[in-house]
Structures are given as structure tokens and as C-alpha cells.
Symmetry: D2
Subunit: 236 residues, 4 copies
Amino acid sequence: MKTAIVIGVGPEDGLGGQLCARFAKDHHVLVAGRTQEKLDAIVDSIKASGGSAEAVVADATNEAATQAMFDKAGDDLALAIYNAGNNTPGRIVDMEADYFEHSWRVCCFGGFLFGREAVRRMQGKGGTVLFTGASASLRGRANFGAFNSSKAALRTFAQAMAKEYAKDGVHVGHVVIDGPINGEKIKKGFPQYAEKLGDEGMISIDGIVDAYEYLYKQPRSAWSFEVDVRTHLENW
Amino acid sequence: MKTAIVIGVGPEDGLGGQLCARFAKDHHVLVAGRTQEKLDAIVDSIKASGGSAEAVVADATNEAATQAMFDKAGDDLALAIYNAGNNTPGRIVDMEADYFEHSWRVCCFGGFLFGREAVRRMQGKGGTVLFTGASASLRGRANFGAFNSSKAALRTFAQAMAKEYAKDGVHVGHVVIDGPINGEKIKKGFPQYAEKLGDEGMISIDGIVDAYEYLYKQPRSAWSFEVDVRTHLENW
Amino acid sequence: MKTAIVIGVGPEDGLGGQLCARFAKDHHVLVAGRTQEKLDAIVDSIKASGGSAEAVVADATNEAATQAMFDKAGDDLALAIYNAGNNTPGRIVDMEADYFEHSWRVCCFGGFLFGREAVRRMQGKGGTVLFTGASASLRGRANFGAFNSSKAALRTFAQAMAKEYAKDGVHVGHVVIDGPINGEKIKKGFPQYAEKLGDEGMISIDGIVDAYEYLYKQPRSAWSFEVDVRTHLENW
Amino acid sequence: MKTAIVIGVGPEDGLGGQLCARFAKDHHVLVAGRTQEKLDAIVDSIKASGGSAEAVVADATNEAATQAMFDKAGDDLALAIYNAGNNTPGRIVDMEADYFEHSWRVCCFGGFLFGREAVRRMQGKGGTVLFTGASASLRGRANFGAFNSSKAALRTFAQAMAKEYAKDGVHVGHVVIDGPINGEKIKKGFPQYAEKLGDEGMISIDGIVDAYEYLYKQPRSAWSFEVDVRTHLENW
């Protein structure tokens, strides 16, 4: 059985959790994130469904932890998904240097470490590396200076990587999530906002996971770099 | 059974032909193009496989023909694909006005007629409209002034349409084909070029058709506007 | 004295009129548009200031008229500005085919004829061709399907032309006007809207003309293709 | 007399040096960079021409140094230019984490510190902040993963900042330099490459400086965010 790594995993009813669940259907999944408890819940759930998974507590911005995680994945690694990184709103005049840097560390630097370790192992042999993007990846907008900058940094890095390693059999993709995700984060964190949006106004996690699976299953004679995803109610 | 229209259909081993074949698995397909004989071959082949299809000889740039085709599709229309339009290279100084206009008529004006008739029928009821794009749709390049202009016109029209009708349940998508397609057109028309590229250097039609099918099957809680497709050997 | 052509000229207090006035400082200007009376007013005004100009009544979408205009410009042609084209809002379902086509004819096809005639004469000898763009040139938006399509067609054509003729000494540029222009058209046509926007909310024509002059004066060792212009109050 | 800051200043015959020289015509200029000797040479040259300038040895990535520099600029600060950041080519598999991070620190993080300190002082009062970009800012490319990522991060940050502070009177601009600069860096560092390109194949520094001056002088009724600059021989 092939192995998949998903990093940036939080609650089971979140994008990371559902990416794990989906790929656990036919992969051994390394479920990676910062909180042991949350990872364990997902691993247990996968095992209960007859799948194979293990939890890897790892800080995505830590080089040694990233390398150890890839070493653990071993030779059967077929898919690596970088899903770490949170929105970091705020006005530039008020922004602490640490805040700006932290946004880059999680959204971009961790993605570089992850992407580099993946291509080091997949080069020649083949494999797929997918990154989670946002509409913020595409253009700057008032109040999103830090997040815009770090997500654009990740996307452009991913594009360079896609071009650099395609001939070596490594497929690099980027999923642009344009709008709020219908998952636990918004429902627990911003229940009123979630209610106002309604189910129709938030992107279905299952639909987003489809995009990752679609990219992953493409033959190398027809690879995509980017897929955008939004609800039919989104203003864009 | 739902109905699908595909316009811009030539040889069976071409993108239009294979789009018809794929969607004929679970749709009645209107196989539309300029040459009766070619359309008949595809319809026969679909019927031989137990599918349902009919040929519609139609000039995509003709308003009445486009309307008649949509009338023929009837109330069960679920999918409409605009695949007409050929590359029209040439230097601007040498370009006849008719040549420039013809490129726009086939690549863009026909797409407008097609898109308008589709949304007129799908609005409120739902449906999917997909357009064939190219890397030429995205930026201008020496020697492609006419094709660049008409494909960018189509893409930006499609994007406006996507935003205008999403709330009415119409999903509009655009597939960016980045490179030569591995089909009859190149193999018969430019055999030496095809040989030089090799199978690995031309995009698999099956892989391209997957992109259309992927877009078509998306739930409205997770729609994409654009998917790009290229081989792993493409320089981009 | 060098010659400049400006087509798409209406009232004196409009972009076309002010482009003529500015370049008349050191060029003989062909003031081209559809209405003799308006052109004459501008020519008279230029002459009253000691400049040199002549009116050319011409339909920008007519090939013979475009060629005659360039023939009239003669050998000293240094600058050619395509400023024709109006916004054409409307929903796609309601749009007549003629309306859609007319938008393309004025915004794009006329620009092709103009650009082709310009490069035919400037190739090797050098010269500058500038096109008026809009934020609509850059992306599709609900209610602007026709204008989006035809402006994107023009921009991508201009980009192809810029790349195709740079080595032959022809500088092609595109000015993206992002917002309402502070001129007669809005003040007379939509006085309430103009009042609501206020002078600060509309782009200064003088500032826009600066962009054309800046592009025109660039040495070939440092050419730009595109400049965007908006007020400090614009939401973008 | 108004004050201007230029950071990222090296040799006199470089972009930073020539930006200082140009704006010293009517500003007191803070000439900022890492090497006292180089800064002194430029300051001496400005003073010899009757201008006013002072050297500020500063690491652009250091928060305290950046703040001290802005404090030194005082209340008459009208223009702040961030010109720090070098190209950092290399394949991703071979890239040390420090190398990747350093690219971001110089190209993007320093730009954030600089931009934040500038808007903190200019907000309400007005002023202009300009950033040096590259074609690498716009898209990813094989062998430029680090530089692409950090320049895209800077550009998208600048765009967010432009939108966030325009209404407060702060004009933020970004100059996309597309190709090699005809200055001391390439002539001394890569003399054979410079010779192969020839003067016509490298962008004139004077022409680039014109772009900064053009942006700086724009009235707020007609601001640009971005100007691209290349030679007429550039392939793009």
C-alpha cells in the first residue's frame, strides 16, 4: 500500500482531517499536526473504518521534524499534502514583526521544507505534492497584508517547483479555496458568521477534497497545476 | 436521461469526438459540428456501444443554427460544451481583416451565442456550460495575435458569465489546454511534429476529457471555474 | 514636426480631446472620430494655441477609413493612439448578438486594424502605439460580459503585438483606466453619479494623459507595456 | 526640502545609487545600505553636485535599524524606496533552509518593516512608498523557487498595502524590472554575460529611475500601482 502524508491536520471535521479520511481508503496515512489528541481521534476513526494511519506530532516549520516525518513515510510515499497555515488578518500599521514572520513561517517556509523533502524523495520515482491555497494567494487586499504575502509566496514557490520537477515525474498542484470552509473551525469559532452564511454559503469540505483527489489521480499526460473552488453563492 | 450538447466536433479521435463518447455513457448527446460525415461516424460509434446520440450539422457562428440546436436539446439539457475554434497563427502585419475576424467569430462570438442560449435555458433550473481554452487564452505572444485575442475574449466572457449565473444554478467552467493534443488532428496534419513530440509530449485526450467530467460532476457547494492541463514534459 | 494620430475623440473635455491637446504641443495631430463638429472644435482650439492639427472623420471599425487615415499621417508618424470603445453593460441573457458584436468591433477589431496599419508603417523605422484599456480588460465580472470580452481581446492583442514588434522598434503600450474618468461624458451623461463621486472620486484626465506621455517618451532601453491608473479613493 | 529614503544602495552606478542621485535634485536623501564606503561615495557625489544627503548604514532586515532610519528621516519624509534584495537562483532539492529564509528576509520581510514604518509616518499626511520588483515577482519558474517566492511575497504585500492606505493619502507602487540592469553589478560580476547582452540588451538604469520618478510625481487623482520595464530586445 502506498503512503500519504497530510500535514496541517486539526479537527476531524476539518479539511486536514477529511483529506486524511479520503486518502486512507487506499493509502497508509501519516496524520500530521501539532495536537496529539486531535491526530489520535482521526487515526482511531480511520482504523475503525478498516484503514491504516499513524499520528505524527510535528511543527510544520521545523526542519528536523519535517525530515523525520518524511523518513517515517519511507519508500512508498506517493502523495504529500501541505495544508498548514491560517489566515492572519490585520492592518499593516498595527502588525508586529513576529506576527508577519509567523504567517510566513507557517504558510510558506513550512511549505518549502515540506516540498523540498518531498521532491528529494520523489524525484525520478514519481509522486504528487499538493498545497492548500486561498483567494488571498492571488492578489493583495486591504487588511490581509500578512496572509496575502505568505500565501502568494507559497503559491509562486509551488509554481516554480511544479515547473522544476515535472520532468522528474513529480506532480505539484495548488488548490485555491475561495471562501469560508464548511467545517468545525468556522462553526465553533464563528458560529454566528457560519449561521449567517448557511450551508450553501460555505464550501463543502468533501468538494474540496475531491479537488485534491482529482489532481492526485491525473495521469502525467494531463496534469493540472491549479484548481479553484468556491460555492455557487460566492461573490468573486 | 439528461441531454448534453458538444459543439466543435471533428474526427472521432479528437477532443470533440471523445467528449461526446465520454458523456454518451449517461447522456443523450447532440454531436454538433460542420461535417455530417464525421458527426455520423461518432453517432454510429456511440450507438454501437449502446448509447444515444444524434448528429447536428451546425455552424457555431450562426445564431439561428445555435438556437435551433438548443431547441432540439429540449428540457433535459444538463451540459453544454463549446469546443469550436482553431489556432490561427500569423504575424499581425500580414493578417487580413477577414482572418482576424474569423478567428473571433469561431473562438468567441460562437461561444457567446452558445453561452447565451445555454443560460437562457438553464437559468433557475441549473446546468453546466464548459468552454475549451488554451494557454493562448492567458497572455499575448508573438505570432499569435489573432488567436490570443479571440481566446482571451472567450475566457473573459466565460468568467463574466460564471459570476453572473452562478447564483441561478449555472456552473460555467473553462479548461486551459496548454500544449498539443494527442489526437488525429496533429497526427494527420503534422505527422513529423507529432513524431518529434512523441506520445509523452502531447496531452492525452482522455486526460483532458477527465477535466470536463470533473467540472461537470462538481456539487454547487464546490465549483471550479478553471482547470489547466499539460503533459509532464511541457515547458511553461 | 512629428505626427500623432488619436482616434476615439469626442468632446474637448474628454480623454481623446485632451490626448490631442497634449500631443499637439510638439506634434501635428490627426484628430480622429465620428463627429465632424466635435473634431473641429478640438482642431480649432489647438490652432488657437499655436498648434497644428487636422480633423479626420473616420469610423474606427472601417478598414479603408483606417488605412486612409494612416496614409494621411504620412512618413512622420511617431505616435498612434487607439482610444475608441465604450462600455457596454448588460446581462448576457438579454444581449442581442449585434450588441455583443458591436462591442468587439469598436473595442477590439478597430484596434486590430489600427495597430496593423501602425506597425506596417513603423516597423524598422520605430514608433509608439498606445491603447486605452480598463479594469474590465483584466477580468470578467457580472453585467459586463460584452465589454469584458472585447477589452480583454484588445489587451491580449496589444500584448502579442508588443512582443512581436519590439525588436523592430515599435513600442506598444496599454493604459488600464480603473474607474470613472472626470470628463464631460460622465458630467453630462450621469450628472448625479458624477456629483456623488465628486472630483476626488473620478480619475483626472490630465493624470491619464500623463501615462500616455510617459509611455511615449520612454527610451527603448526601458519600455513599459502597461500602466494602471486610478484615484486614491478607488476600491480595487 | 522634502526627505527621501532609499534603501538597498550599493555602487554609484547601480539602481540604488542612481535613485539617490535622481531624487537628490530636490530632496534631502538618506542613502541606506550595508557598506559605509559605498554609501559615502554616493553621498560625496551628491554633495559635490550641490545636493544634500547622508549615509545610513542599515541592515534592511533589522527592525530597530529600520525604525531608527525612519526616525532620522523626520517629519519631511515624502518618499521611501525599498530597493533591497538580490536574485537567489538554485534548485529546490539543493536549497538550504537558511538560503530560502534569507531570500525572504531581504526581499520581503525587510520590505514589510520598511513599508510599515513608512505608512506609520505617512498615514493622513501623505507620501509615496515604492518597491523594486522583477519579472520573478509575477510567476514561478524552474531554478528560481526562492527568489520567485520572496518577490511574489513582496509584491502581494505591496498590493495589499496600496489598497489599505490609498485613502489615507499614501501612494504605494511597484516597479517590475524585467531583465538584466545595465549597471556595475552585471558589468563587474558577469562581464562576459554583459558583453554578450550588449548595451541594448540591458535595461537602462536611467530609464528605470524614470519609472520611480513618474510614480512619485503622480497626483492622487491618477495613481498607478505597477509599471513594468524592459528593453526592446527582451523576450517576454
